[in-house]
């Protein structure tokens, strides 16, 4: 069974600029939390977790959605054949096991016996075939990229999927929320009816739902994981303001929040009534250089910028020790990360000046750095970049614009360089590489227009090479080329940060930033 074997445990950066943190932690005078170790105490049943989130759930149609507000409600209701854990390692889901033929073309999944949908009808291979075929038919935003020639129910508990050509990331894509399984023919309802009150195999069932407000779930009494979920109900409460999230949690009005600003982690951690959970994510914060820009088309200029940036300094100053410094495009939570390989260009002002001297613009120039407004972390990053580049004679004007305009601008390549983040949907490196280094893909190397035929060739090999040392070499080579060509500069890997009342235990945070609630329980 080809399973991803890897993943160095994440290095959690401990020491941070204490002074900065202390300055912010003014009100945090309480003794540090001493939470009971959930592993040593027995889970208790009952209770409700109320999770504050900044955006409401607007649709539950798993095949047609992509954004986190919907995806992380959908994944409570529907489950795919394969799951993954908080390290990004693929684990059994609705399929207990799977086999891949040696040519990488035939995938055979054995379903977990006795799984029931929330309406108590049994899950069969036919439901899997219907679900995946519907997903392929709607051509949704989180698709299966493999060219699939057939999906068959071999018997009630076996599904066979045949590909037209090998595609190694297939298993990790099957684990995405958009490949969740629902009853064949929508259980006899119309699509519209079905997705208003959907039926799945997941741990929770929709109770009440206001698309512009809160959504509440009750536990799925027929859930196949024995005894789970422990909680009776789960509520996603719409609180569209980060400060309010924090304050309502501290005041005990809600007992979990979906996001915590990096600057607030220290203060929250010092609150004995609150537990902060950090998990390495699939997100990469980056500085993107538009290689169609007059100056940035020169690789010497790009290398000069990479040498001029103190990534450790930026990470420490803006994320308060919650993020890991990035040395490569692929984060350690994804297979074949080169984060420890030392490919990234070092912080070295002399090297930066030398590189700029070699370029067509030895005397520097003036460019505009575009960021989305309303994100204080990005604003700080931009200021540090501005100062750092001033050191080598590049004048940076920071252009802070609202998110909708920001998106319109960069989709039109209307920017010099920008700070934004890239994100993978699965633990396979192909996702990030395809999105950020494929000049023919719709994102055209994340709107940098970066084109390198060698990288394109390697990327194509990576998709068809079976997991193993050969595949690892391909991705390490790609990351080395990217580090030297500098179409973008990975700065840090942010953590998925969640906070709960210290009475909530067993919370599992996944690297896609979703929370798994079937293991969570509340100390009564």
């Amino acid at each position: 069974m080809p399973r991803s074997s890897r993943l160095r445990s994440r290095v959690i950066r401990g020491a941070v600029p204490i002074a900065l943190v202390a300055a912010l932690a003014l009100s945090a005078c309480a003794a540090p939390a001493t939470p009971t170790d959930p592993a040593t105490s027995e889970p208790q049943s009952g209770g409700t977790i109320t999770l504050g989130r900044v955006a409401s759930v607007t649709s539950l149609d798993l095949n047609n959605e992509i954004t986190a507000n919907n995806a992380f409600a959908i994944d409570k209701i529907f489950e795919p054949l394969i799951s993954f854990d908080s390290d990004g390692v693929l684990t059994p889901g609705l399929a207990d096991s799977w086999e891949v033929s040696e040519d990488g073309l035939v995938y055979t999944f054995a379903l977990h016996p006795g799984v029931l949908f929330s309406d108590a009808t049994p899950l069969t291979a036919k439901d899997v075939v219907f679900s995946l075929e519907r997903h392929i038919a709607v051509e949704g935003p989180v698709p299966l990229h493999a060219s699939i020639s057939s999906i068959e129910a071999t018997d009630d508990e076996t599904v066979t999927i045949t590909l037209a050509e090998a595609y190694t990331p297939f298993l990790s894509e099957i684990a995405q929320f958009s490949n969740g399984i629902f009853p064949a023919d929508f259980g006899g309802k119309t699509e519209e009816e079905f997705f208003k009150n959907p039926i799945g195999t997941g741990p929770f069932v929709v109770d009440k739902w206001d698309p512009a407000g809160d959504i509440s779930f009750v536990k799925n009494e027929n859930y196949w994981q024995e005894g789970k979920p422990y909680i009776d109900a789960l509520v996603y409460k719409l609180i569209p303001d980060g400060t309010q999230l924090l304050q309502q949690l501290q005041a005990g009005q809600i007992n979990a929040i979906d996001e915590v600003a990096e600057a607030n982690v220290e203060e929250l951690s010092n609150n004995a009534d609150v537990t902060v959970t950090k998990t390495g994510s699939w997100v990469v914060e980056q500085l993107f250089l538009n290689t169609q820009n007059e100056y940035f088309s020169d690789v010497n200029v790009r290398q000069a910028i990479a040498h001029a940036l103190d990534r450790e300094g930026i990470t420490a100053a803006t994320t308060f020790g919650t993020a890991e410094v990035a040395n490569s495009l692929i984060p350690p939570t994804i297979q074949y990360s080169a984060n420890d390989s030392g490919f990234a260009l070092d912080y070295d002002l002399d090297a930066a000046k030398a590189a700029l001297a070699k370029s067509a613009y030895p005397n520097g120039f003036s460019v505009s750095l575009m960021i989305a407004s309303g994100n204080s972390l990005r604003a700080q990053e931009a200021q540090i970049v501005q100062e750092a580049l001033a050191e080598i004679g590049i004048t940076v004007n920071i252009e802070s614009i609202d998110l909708a305009t920001f998106r319109t601008r960069f989709f039109a390549y209307d920017f010099d360089f920008m700070i934004n983040s890239g994100q993978s949907d699965s633990p396979d490196p192909n996702g990030l590489i395809s999105f950020q280094a494929d000049p023919e893909g719709f994102s055209q190397s994340y709107w940098t227009h970066y084109t390198n035929d060698k990288v394109t060739e390697l990327m194509k090999q990576g998709r068809v090479t079976l997991d193993g040392p050969d595949r690892e070499k391909i991705y390490l080579d790609i990351q080395e080329i990217l580090a030297n060509d500098v179409p973008y500069i990975p700065i840090f890997y942010p953590s998925a940060i969640k906070a709960t009342s210290s009475k909530v235990h067993g919370l599992v945070v996944l690297p896609n930033e979703s929370i798994r609630f079937q293991d969570a329980w509340i100390e009564q």
């Binding site: 409401s56 607007t58 649709s59 992509i66 954004t67 051509e139 949704g140 935003p141 206001d210 698309p211 512009a212 407000g213 409460k237 719409l238 609180i239 569209p240 303001d241 400060t243 309010q244 999230l245 304050q247 309502q248 501290q250 005041a251 009005q253 609202d402 998110l403 909708a404 305009t405 998106r407 319109t408 601008r409 989709f411 934004n420 994100q423 949907d425 999105f435 719709f442 994102s443």
Partner: protein
């Protein structure tokens, strides 16, 4: 024609163009600003194909004038501005669902403003040029200088986080909980409104205090309390009422901001989210109903002045 009808007709002639103007301006302004609702719905990693399909589905590909005609049709035929692009629910439904809490907030803010402003103004006027007068004239001005959201945050830290008298935000459940949740936000909005009310009422009171009819009343031995509250205040309140009616737009605007600070899911949060996401029908809907509300409240207050003050009646 009888005066009330004339007043009504004149007002209508003023109101209708204002409301139509607001709605048309919002329609075009929204579309002039860059930003694509389909992109906001699907996020940054969606393919151009899915974005194009969604734009088609949402009717964003139609010519602008066609969109305006469709929009005007929906407004006049259904009293609605169409389905929200983000939530796929009728805008009117969203507004009806959220309006009560915002209206309650505005109402409470007006109540607080009047209670506090009248008390302070009477105190200041009675002690003209004394310490109380100076304090009343200076302190509220500081409040006026602070932005509403900042006042809101300070109130949360003091009364909700530290003293725990009120919830930090949201609208609780239970019979009295929503009211309790609205106290701090209403106070935050009213603090910006109180200073001009106090100033206007104070100077007006001083003027009336020294007018002949007051001297006559006092000479006739009418108790001071009745003189102040029964006669002076009634006469002095008219310009303040007019000022309040002018401030209604400020009040509604302030409420929209404060809702965001206090995590109240009213019209303000709805509008804020809709603007960020370029949810055109919802922004247009909230603008339409807010314009109507501003106009309506001004009308009611004008009517009140008309009832209280016989002079306005004879003038028209």
């Amino acid at each position: 024609m009888r005066p009330p009808l004339r007043w009504l007709r004149r007002t209508l002639f003023a109101v209708v163009p204002v409301v139509i103007g607001v709605v048309v301006a919002v329609f075009f302004l929204l579309r002039l600003v860059p930003g694509d609702p389909a992109r906001m719905i699907l996020g940054e990693r969606a393919t151009p194909e899915s974005v194009a399909a969604l734009r088609e589905q949402l009717g964003l590909n139609k010519p602008l004038l066609q969109q305006l005609v469709d929009f005007a049709g929906t407004v006049f035929l259904h009293g609605d501005t169409g389905n929200s692009l983000i939530y796929n629910v009728s805008t009117r439904e969203l507004i009806v669902q959220r309006a009560p809490i915002s209206l309650a907030l505005v109402g409470l803010a007006v109540l607080f403003s009047l209670l506090i402003a009248v008390t302070l103004a009477v105190l200041a006027a009675r002690h003209k040029d004394g310490i109380i007068d100076h304090v009343v004239r200076v302190i509220p001005t500081i409040g006026q200088g602070m932005p509403t959201f900042w006042i809101g945050l300070l109130l949360i830290i003091l009364f909700a986080v530290t003293l725990k008298w009120f919830p930090v935000g949201g609208i609780g459940t239970g019979p009295l909980e929503p009211l309790r949740s609205l106290v701090l936000p209403a106070l935050a909005v009213s603090l910006g409104l109180i200073p001009p009310l106090v100033r206007s009422l104070r100077s007006e009171l001083l003027e009336v205090f020294s007018s002949d009819f007051v001297t006559t009343l006092r000479a006739a031995g009418i108790p001071e309390r009745r003189v102040v509250f029964g006669h002076i205040l009634r006469n002095a309140s008219l310009p303040t009422l007019t000022l309040l009616s002018v401030s209604v737009s400020y009040l509604i605007g302030g409420t929209l901001v404060v809702e965001q600070v206090f995590g109240i899911n009213g019209l303000g949060s709805l509008l804020f989210g809709a603007i960020s996401n370029r949810d055109f029908p919802v922004v247009q809907g909230v603008a339409l109903y807010c314009a109507l509300m501003v106009v309506l409240v001004s009308l009611v207050l004008d009517g009140l002045v008309w009832l209280l003050d016989p002079r306005t009646r004879s003038a028209s």
